[in-house]
């Protein structure tokens, strides 16, 4: 049983994740049955709400953008053999970075302010990733524990700053004043309208394009660059990496900087693209679902985009579904995320074995 299971590449990259996702949805369906609702009706409502209308599709892609960023953040660290569960905190700090830049440099024109704001988000996210990375690389602290602690530190810090420092004295809510108008990333329906094409208005904004570009850039970096090769080598075998002249400590810090910066993208989409102010709990669990996205997408940017789309559909469809069937709330997405993490992550070996057993006759035939 301990012998490695050889599977054809297509089975390994497509079939095993697909089987575990199908199994996850089956279990989720059982939960729906368990609370006395019809899973087929629920699925129909979910799909209608998420991809059935132009507006729904817009919202779906808005959420997809969030998941692409957090999924990529988890994946980059994962390639270096690091388990970053701190995307939530890194995104929170990213929001702080964006807010500080946008509110203090409001004299800049939009074409300068938007990129600088994005850099602010990336830089603060990167910093919040870099410290646990550094502590792991140089001081031997376990990155999982440190990133958990940094999530809580981030949430405590943001509450303090919003309540005591950044809040407008006239505003009762713990949030900053609105970002300057020229710093707001244009909505997709505005962009299309400028070209005379009318699409349904939604929260979807140009950050979606940035997310796709980030996914392509990460693909180039991980699979086509010297640094990416070093990252994957460290992830695969840190001892071998040392013999190849790669410093695992350096790669650990670099991977966590990249990871944190990508998590900052969540803040760009949510705050610069939609909320236009810094407020509490805007990360609302995207960082944790990002783990499910990365595991399901096999830490490959294309897989992550597809997995993000699936979670975007669940998230938007789930909101619509909650109107029709109030018993099924958006928490269903968290449940499905948890089951997918369990199946595609912790129980991966079990699913590989099941797939191998199913494929055995065909594989034997192919060999003969």
């Amino acid at each position: 049983m301990s012998a490695p299971i050889d599977l054809p590449k297509w089975a390994d990259t497509v079939l095993v994740p697909a089987v575990s996702v199908v199994a996850a949805f089956f279990v989720a369906g059982m939960v729906v049955v368990g609370i006395g609702e019809n899973p087929l009706t629920a699925t129909r409502l979910l799909l209608e709400g998420s991809v059935g209308t132009g507006e729904g599709l817009g919202f779906t892609l808005f959420y997809t953008t969030n998941f692409i960023f957090t999924g990529l953040a988890v994946a980059v660290a994962y390639h270096a053999g690091l388990f970053n569960i701190g995307a939530e905190g890194q995104a929170t700090l990213g929001g702080l970075g964006a807010a500080l830049v946008l509110l203090n440099l409001s004299f800049l024109p939009g074409f300068l302010l938007i990129p600088v704001g994005i850099l602010g988000a990336a830089a603060f996210g990167a910093l919040w990733g870099a410290i646990p990375g550094y502590l792991q690389a140089k001081r031997g602290s376990h990155i999982v524990i440190t990133t958990i602690m940094f999530n809580w530190l981030a949430s405590v810090l943001i509450v303090y700053l919003l309540v005591n420092v950044l809040r407008e004295p006239t505003n009762m809510n713990p949030e900053t004043k609105a970002f300057p108008a020229q710093s707001q990333i244009p909505f997709m329906h505005e962009v299309f309208a400028a070209f005379g094409v009318e699409i349904a208005p939604s929260q979807l904004n140009l950050t979606f394009v940035l997310a796709l570009a980030a996914a392509y850039a990460i693909w180039l970096l991980i699979y086509r660059s010297r640094l990416g090769y070093a990252i994957r080598t460290v992830g695969f075998n840190p001892t071998a990496a040392v013999y190849a002249g790669i410093s695992p400590a350096r790669i650990t810090v670099i991977a966590m900087v990249l990871s944190g910066a990508l998590a900052g993208g969540l803040a760009v989409n949510e705050l610069m693209g939609y909320q236009h102010r810094l407020l509490l709990e805007f990360t609302s669990g995207y960082g944790f679902v990002g783990i499910a996205v990365a595991l399901m997408g096999r830490a490959h940017p294309l897989g992550i985009i597809l997995a993000s789309l699936l979670f975007g559909i669940l998230y938007q469809g789930g909101a619509e579904l909650a109107f029709e069937q109030p018993a099924i709330t958006r928490d269903m997405v968290v449940v499905i995320g948890g089951i997918i993490i369990l199946f595609a992550g912790a129980l991966e070996g079990l699913f590989r074995r099941l797939v191998a057993r199913a494929l055995m006759p065909a594989m034997r035939q192919a060999r003969a």
């Binding site: 602690m149 809580w152 303090y160 783990i291 018993a327 993490i341």
Partner: protein, 301 residues
């Protein structure tokens, strides 16, 4: 500041430290056997929900406690199956447990009671009453778990074997003792203790379940475990200290201290996390986990 004030602060600190203590000892059992568990938070949460639901249905806090422990042990067994039998990644499994718990308690609570995820308020026999100096039965159980853990792990043959499994499983296996069996026992004890902590939250400390009512206590317990360097008595001390911090954060709200001024509540709340990061970085002492913690055991390699 008279004696009465200190007694009140001591009592509220003790109350706030009990869920931490139960979860911290739970983590101690699991990690000492070599199974890393970041799912303490999730297990406490399902236990809190199951305990409140059962206490409401049967009108008995004790049935609530049993249901809470049962639910928590069931989740512990999922973690055990993934990380012991399937040799999966223990961190990944722990994350999954936390997410499952957060989502399921919210959905089921909403579907059953339609009160935004809350259970109906508990009263009378459905809550734990005071049995000893104003403290309820779960408080006593959690405190008793400290000497029991210390004795069983440190002074019995079973405890020696369990610790050995966390340090060098191959040696235990060579001696003809089942690594899998010992780790499953440890994981189930971990589930039971998380169940105690969770049930105390919803049926002892409060009168019912609120969505996400553990609010990070499982992670503070994890921090306390590292602080206590995986030992029972230091765990009691650390959890009580974190309880004092918690009680102080509540009491110091809006109060100006002489010489320091007003201390922001968030600064006190951040202390356990900050101290853990500093400790792990090896600046003040060193925290070394059990050697085989997080490593799945593969026979014959």
């Amino acid at each position: 500041m008279d004696l009465g004030f200190f007694v009140t602060v001591f009592d509220s600190s003790l109350r706030l430290s009990i869920p931490l203590l139960a979860a911290c000892l739970a983590g101690l059992w699991s990690e000492r056997s070599g199974v890393v568990d970041i799912g303490l938070e999730g297990k406490m949460l399902v236990a809190a929900f199951a305990a409140a639901a059962a206490a409401h249905a049967f009108g008995s806090a004790w049935i609530g406690l049993i249901a809470g422990i049962g639910a928590s042990v069931a989740f512990a067994l999922i973690h055990g199956f993934a990380s012991i039998s399937q040799r999966g990644n223990q961190i990944v499994s722990g994350v999954a447990i936390n997410m499952l718990a957060a989502g399921l308690t919210a959905i089921v609570g909403n579907a059953w009671y339609a009160q935004g995820g809350r259970t109906p308020p508990l009263e009378g026999a459905a809550r734990f009453g005071d049995v000893f100096l104003g403290h309820s039965a779960p408080v006593i159980f959690a405190l008793l778990a400290v000497p029991v853990t210390w004795f069983v792990l440190g002074k019995t043959r079973f405890g020696l074997r369990l610790r050995a499994v966390g340090e060098n499983p191959a040696a235990v296996d060579t001696a003809g003792i089942s690594v899998t069996g010992l780790r499953y026992v440890a994981v189930m004890i971990c589930g039971a203790l998380c169940g105690l902590g969770g049930a105390y939250l919803s049926v002892g400390q409060s009168a019912g379940f609120l969505p996400n009512m553990t609010a990070g206590k499982g992670f503070i317990a994890l921090a306390a475990l590292i602080f206590a360097k995986w030992r029972a008595w230091p765990a009691l001390g650390t959890c009580f200290l974190f309880g004092v911090l918690d009680a102080a954060a509540i009491r110091l709200q809006g109060i100006s201290l002489p010489g320091i001024g007003e201390v922001p509540v968030q600064a006190i709340q951040a202390l356990p996390y900050l101290l853990t990061v500093i400790l792990l970085a090896g600046v003040i002492g060193k925290a070394i986990p059990p050697r085989a913690a997080g490593v799945p055991y593969v026979k014959e390699r």
